[in-house]
């Protein structure tokens, strides 16, 4: 990474041997993200149903699945934006399930999160949005670009240059196109100097051209910085193109886990079965007054 963090990082802890209670279990120490029997319940719906997963360092993992299959919940439980109902989650050596708010913040600092809707504050300028990525490293609330030290402002410009938007630094974030906004969001994640990048449908609200550009950028940066990436995606082809490993979620359960070339049609239909069924068994189109009139 080449940066020296101001705050103690958990990266070292992740390489330390596990606690004695982990000795007999399947918990390995190399994995960056690990979860065991992870379940999450929202009211009466079960968003995640006993998920077991281990993601080693440097892996690029794509999570496939229908809308509502639990992809977002899974990713959000990795940095504590969602608190699991049952099971354990360990990310970068931090037990997310039992961590206090201080530990959670320390964890979140090192985990970049890319949202489907970008999560930019539209009314403030691009640079201040990127600087928000440094909030975990600075004390006190900040308001306005000039409330951040110059050193951080320069760093933020550097990240913006990396995503190709340095000339837009002082433009309002909501004047950018969707693809540009997602690139700003990537710059904000870089500002966190992340070890792990979580991306929740990063290109779902973009047109095909900008999706390709954003995915390409995310990927290139991840390879260059040696980041571990977990991204949830709709598009199977896009996922096959770059991921080292694909998992499929259906109704909150892992129904497929394979390398890209092993992910065949049968496995895919396991993930997307509802769509196929829906196409076959859908009710016939209701006859409207016009067709009835014609028939009569």
């Amino acid at each position: 990474m080449g940066h020296s963090g101001e705050t103690p990082r958990l990266g070292a802890a992740r390489l330390s041997p596990g606690t004695p209670e982990d000795a007999g279990s399947r918990w390995t120490t190399e994995a960056v993200v690990q979860c065991e029997r992870l379940s999450k319940r929202f009211g009466s719906t079960l968003a995640l149903d006993s998920v077991d997963l281990a993601v080693p360092a440097g892996q690029m993992l794509a999570v496939l699945g229908l809308s509502g299959s639990g992809k977002s919940t899974l990713l959000r439980s990795f940095n504590g934006l969602v608190t699991p109902s049952e099971g354990r989650v360990k990310v970068l050596g931090c037990e997310v399930t039992s961590a206090n708010s201080e530990h959670l913040r320390t964890l979140r600092r090192q985990v970049g999160f890319i949202f489907q809707q970008f999560g930019l504050v539209g009314r403030i300028c691009v640079l201040e949005n990127v600087l928000a990525g440094a909030l975990g490293r600075v004390k006190y609330p900040r308001f306005g670009v000039l409330s951040y030290p110059r050193r951080l402002r320069l760093e933020a410009i550097g990240h913006l240059e990396r995503v190709g938007l340095a000339d837009r630094a002082f433009q309002r974030a909501d004047t950018l196109s969707g693809g540009q906004q997602q690139r700003v969001a990537i710059a904000r994640a870089l500002m966190q100097r992340p070890v792990l990048l979580l991306a929740d449908e990063p290109v779902a609200s973009l047109d095909p051209e900008s999706s390709a550009a954003v995915m390409e950028l995310m990927l290139r940066i991840s390879r260059e910085d040696n980041l571990t990436v977990i991204a949830s995606l709709h598009q199977v082809e896009l996922a096959r193109g770059w991921a080292d490993r694909l998992i499929g979620l259906r109704d909150g359960r892992v129904v497929a886990d394979a390398k890209p070339d092993e992910m065949n049609e049968q496995r895919l239909s396991e993930i997307y079965r509802r769509v196929a069924e829906g196409k076959m068994d859908g009710p016939p189109a209701p006859a409207n007054a016009f067709t009835t009139a014609l028939a009569g």
Binding site: E128, A132, G136, F143, G296
Partner: protein
């Protein structure tokens, strides 16, 4: 064949079903009608007084014409102080309302319990009229400007805090979640994720409140809380009606000019928002900036130096906001139009508040020093004594409620046609413009002054108060109606016209009908406002609970005053609970 396929009238149900909503709505209208008839008889309102009253007013005005400007310099001085009181009251209210609003909003509060406390403070502040606060504070710290400022501030927290909490709750959750995901603390999430999103609406709400506070501040002097109202009270007491009318005209000019200034500022605030959201390639269009903006955004030597050092950037898409050229060494925001505008707004606000401190000869710490005295006075009001007035208390509350009900109903009755005339998309342009002007004039007359005029016309009592409130309601509701009508979308109107409807049918179906729920939803809110105003009107002889209040204050029966304030609070709270229920279930 086409004719044969037309539907034949059968046994299909064509009457709308009695849904919970429809039943409730009918019941509400019937209840309102019953309450209205009861109120009308209870305060012995007659149509006759209404017409003799108008004659009396015309007679009174004619007799005291032309108005006199006695000691004009002093009048202007008091008017400036009044403006200062309004500005300071709003500024204090802003400072108090931001934390209260943050604590009252679901998404930024520290704890649910804190949220309920904040909401209780908001309701309490709103339900106690500013004039009542003024009476308490004058009692505590003596005649002067400070009690007026504090009274406006306390009462305004009720509105600002509520609206601020609502706009915080409406903030898009995405950005805040994203800021949270970077490991930011709770307060960092608020300042980075929430505050930038709500700041413009905070400013525009405060500006609106300043407008309202100026209207209130002209009458604060009536109870000794400083400003021009003090002169009015004096001249009225000496029966110098011509001089009093001169004062009213000065008040009127003050209020109308404030409304115009507020409109200009609000437009520029909206201008700051009006940035197209379209990929940053929106065509700039022929913009002609004022000279000072052009001057402020001229190329500077530093920029040229940067341009020489840095390699030329690839030609970026032409942006509305010129933002590319900034110093890569210092990374400071460039002085774009937007930033200049934002700073000038902030600077203007600071200068206005500073000037207000100077003209009113107050200092911020005076308010803090007054706190112990205020506390000592408030303690006197407890425990409230509900017994001393006997049944007078409940009778007074009922009278005030009846006044409010009649004023609201009668106000709506007159306001709807006037509002139709004032809507640009319903009536002819010149009619709309004239009616709008009339409404501005009508709303610029404070209700207390209307009450005084009507008392002169029909004598002391509830009828005068009712009339004053009715006129006030017309001004407020007619504007509401006109604004609501003008917001109606254009598309359905064309559709209705295209089926061959007449202009009147079209207006009824596609303009008036969609606006009705909003109007009815606001009806209970207007009732709430009118009840609070009717307590104020009692102070100048408009009857009701306000009359009792004035009496108990003048004989220093603190604990009776406390009881009256608590009864007022309870009635306002009751109306608000009913209004919330109606809004939630019926509209």
């Amino acid at each position: 064949m086409a004719v044969a396929s037309w539907p034949v009238p059968g046994r299909a149900r064509v009457h709308p079903p009695w849904t919970k909503q429809r039943t409730g709505f009918t019941v509400l209208l019937l209840v309102w009608l019953g309450v209205f008839i009861f109120s009308w008889r209870y305060i012995q309102m007659t149509f006759l007084t209404l017409f003799t009253g108008v004659g009396n007013i015309v007679h009174f005005l004619a007799q005291n014409f032309p108005p006199q400007f006695v000691n004009f310099a002093q009048t202007v001085n008091e008017a400036v102080i009044t403006l200062g009181i309004a500005v300071l009251g709003t500024a204090f209210a802003f400072v108090l309302s931001v934390p209260v609003g943050l604590m009252a909003a679901r998404n930024t509060t520290l704890h649910p319990a804190v949220r309920w406390v904040a909401r209780a403070i908001i309701v309490a502040c709103r339900s106690i009229p500013d004039l009542v606060f003024a009476i308490i504070f004058v009692e505590a710290i003596g005649i002067g400007v400070l009690p007026g400022v504090l009274a406006l501030a306390c009462h305004s927290v009720g509105m600002l805090g509520k609206l601020y909490a609502e706009s915080i709750e409406q903030v898009a959750p995405g950005p805040t979640e994203a800021v949270k995901s970077t490991g930011a603390t709770r307060w960092q999430q608020v300042t980075t994720g929430v505050v930038p999103q709500v700041l413009p609406s905070f400013a525009s709400i405060a500006l609106y409140r300043l407008d309202i506070n100026l209207r209130s501040s002209v009458i604060l002097g009536y109870v000794g809380a400083g400003g021009i109202g003090f002169l009015l009270n004096e001249y009225m007491g000496e029966l110098q009606f011509r001089a009093a009318m001169g004062i009213v005209i000065v008040m009127f000019v003050l209020i109308v000019s404030m409304e115009m200034v507020a409109a200009v500022i609000r437009r520029s605030l909206i201008g700051m928002e009006a940035i197209p959201v379209s990929g940053g390639t929106a065509s700039p269009g022929p913009t002609s900036n004022p000279w000072w903006l052009r001057w402020a955004s001229r190329p500077r030597p530093a920029d040229r130096l940067v341009a020489r050092i840095l390699p030329p950037k690839p030609a970026a898409a032409p942006d509305l906001v010129k933002s590319g050229g900034f110093n890569r060494e210092t990374v400071r925001p460039p002085w774009t139009h937007l930033r200049i505008q934002r700073f000038s707004f902030l600077a203007g606000a600071i200068v206005a508040v500073a000037a207000a401190f100077v003209v009113t000869k107050t200092t911020p710490w005076q308010a803090f020093l007054a706190l112990p005295a205020i506390w000592r006075t408030i303690v006197l009001y407890f425990p409230p004594n509900f017994q001393s007035g006997g049944s007078a208390l409940s009778v007074g509350a009922l009278q005030s409620l009846a006044v409010a009900v009649i004023a609201t109903s009668a106000g709506y009755f007159f306001a709807v046609p006037i509002g139709l005339l004032a809507a640009r998309n319903v009536s002819r342009p010149w009619v709309a413009r004239t009616t709008r002007l009339f409404l501005v004039v009508l709303r610029a007359v404070p209700e207390l002054i209307l009450a005084i005029v009507f008392i002169v016309a029909v004598g002391l009592g509830l009828v005068a108060g009712t009339m004053a409130l009715t006129v006030g309601t017309i001004g407020f509701v007619a504007k509401l109606v006109a604004d609501g009508l003008e917001e109606v979308p254009q598309m359905p109107r064309e559709a209705v016209l295209s089926v061959g409807a007449t202009k009147v049918q079209e207006t009824a179906t596609s303009v008036i009908l969609p606006t009705t729920p909003m109007l009815i939803g606001n009806g209970l809110y207007v009732l709430d406002v009118n009840f609070r105003s009717s307590t104020i009107l009692g102070i100048v002889g408009g009857g009701g609970i306000g009359f009792l209040l004035q009496q108990s204050v003048s004989v220093l029966a603190y604990r009776t005053t406390g009881a009256i304030i608590i009864v007022t609070f309870a009635v306002v709270l009751m109306i608000e609970v009913i209004a919330n229920w109606v809004r939630k279930h019926l509209i």
